[in-house]
């Protein structure tokens, strides 16, 4: 019985031409074609999308949330990467 469970797929939807695909959830399907069709029925019943990506969940690799603090630490102390770090004289326009 266990081997009859369809694999899990993650679904990404482009809501509008010009926007990026965004993760919306997951579903089970026997193969990619069925996953795309099921994604249409489950996640776009009200024109929520113009394009669908599906990827089998087992192929997703993620950063480790327990190490998030150290992992993202290099960006934390570089305020000079932001434009607000710099003082621009009031008389300077268009900058």
């Amino acid at each position: 019985m266990n081997n009859s469970e369809w694999p899990l797929w993650e679904v990404f939807i482009r809501s509008k031409q010009g926007l990026d695909h965004k993760h919306v959830g997951s579903l089970h399907a026997a193969d990619a074609a069925m996953a795309v069709q099921n994604a249409r029925d489950v996640y776009t019943r009200r024109l929520e999308g113009v394009s669908i990506w599906v990827v089998e969940s087992k192929h997703i690799h993620a950063s480790n949330p327990d190490e998030a603090a150290e992992f993202f630490d290099p960006a934390a102390d570089k305020v000079y990467r932001h434009p607000t770090f710099y003082d621009v004289p009031d008389s300077i326009k268009h900058m």
């Binding site: 919306v24 959830g25 997951s26 029925d41 489950v42 019943r45 009200r46 993620a62 949330p65 327990d66």
Partner: protein, 316 residues
């Protein structure tokens, strides 16, 4: 003096208190995970079983328009079930396990679906009252502390308001129709009113899990708070329809700025929860039958996918 490092539990609670959402791979107390799996899968089962009482009227809807609307609503409920099963799966349980628990009777679903839908007016009451109660339960869940559950609920809530409106419209049409139609509407309200009040669960004083769930911000309001909100919302709507809520204790309380109302029949509530409602047996049987009779389709689809993959590998 040295301060003790916060325990994982304390760190977790601090995140909850700061309204930072918990995501699937974050550390969480085992009891939080278990509570969520139970609540989300119960919710998913309710969406799934909830299709049955309305499915009962699809072939007998009074017009093509009503039939299309009812079909779309029932399809939405299937979708809600799927969003929720997906959310529960992120906690480490499997779809197969959840369905097995539903089919064995181990897992519960909302007792409201163990009541029969006897007349077309019941489709009005289910949409207006049952989906109305569901919305009250669900809107606060859009801010629940577990990310995937909250996101699923945002999608569900967007779709629910059409469910309630189509139900109200059915009631309004009946109430503006012939006397026999209005009578049908009143009769349905008489049957659905109390079971709908039961949807909010036992009284706060008899709901031992509420406190912990509120602390974890899984729940944002207590059962009694939501039940009161529901009565305050629905009594004026029933009045608008020219219908009478079947509770002579319903009365506006100027001091509380809320309606007083009578006591739910808790004996009936527990009887239905324990499996002795009018339709418990029939509902579960319909689910099990659908699952078993669909087994060959699931297996065939998997076999087909496997063969196609093998062919592609050979071709490559």
């Amino acid at each position: 003096m040295e301060t003790l490092a916060p325990t994982p539990e304390e760190q977790f609670q601090a995140r909850i208190d700061a309204d930072i959402r918990i995501e699937p791979k974050d550390w969480m107390p085992e009891a939080y995970r278990k509570t969520l799996i139970r609540q989300i899968s119960q919710h998913a089962h309710s969406e799934l079983v909830g299709m049955l009482p309305e499915g009962n009227w699809i072939t007998r809807a009074p017009s093509l328009k009503r039939k299309s609307i009812l079909l779309a609503k029932v399809q939405d409920e299937a979708g809600h079930g799927l969003y929720l099963y997906s959310a529960a799966e992120t906690l480490g349980t499997s779809r197969e396990q959840m369905l097995a628990d539903l089919h064995s009777g181990k897992a519960k679903y909302s007792s409201i679906f163990n009541y029969p839908t006897l007349s077309w007016a019941d489709m009005g009451c289910v949409g207006w009252l049952v989906d109305g109660a569901a919305i009250l339960n669900q809107v606060p869940l859009c801010r629940t502390s577990y990310g995937p559950y909250a996101r699923a609920m945002v999608r569900v809530c967007k779709e629910e308001s059409f469910h309630q409106r189509q139900g109200f419209e059915i009631m309004q049409t009946l109430c503006e129709g012939a006397p026999a139609q209005k009578e049908m509407a009143q009769e349905a309200l008489n049957r659905w009113w109390w079971p709908t009040l039961m949807m909010f669960g036992p009284k706060d004083s008899e709901s031992p899990n509420t406190e912990q769930s509120m602390k974890w911000r899984i729940k944002r309001f207590t059962n009694d708070e939501l039940r009161q909100k529901f009565v305050d919302m629905m009594v004026p709507q029933a009045e608008f329809l020219g219908l009478t809520v079947p509770d002579e204790k319903v009365k506006w309380n100027e001091e509380r700025q809320a309606y007083d109302f009578g006591e739910v029949n808790w004996e009936e509530f527990w009887a239905v929860v324990k499996g002795n409602g009018l339709c418990n047996h029939e509902r579960l049987q319909a689910r099990v039958q659908a699952h078993e009779e669909g087994a060959w389709v699931r297996e065939a689809a998997l076999a087909h996918a496997g063969k196609r993959k093998a062919r592609e590998t050979v071709a490559a």
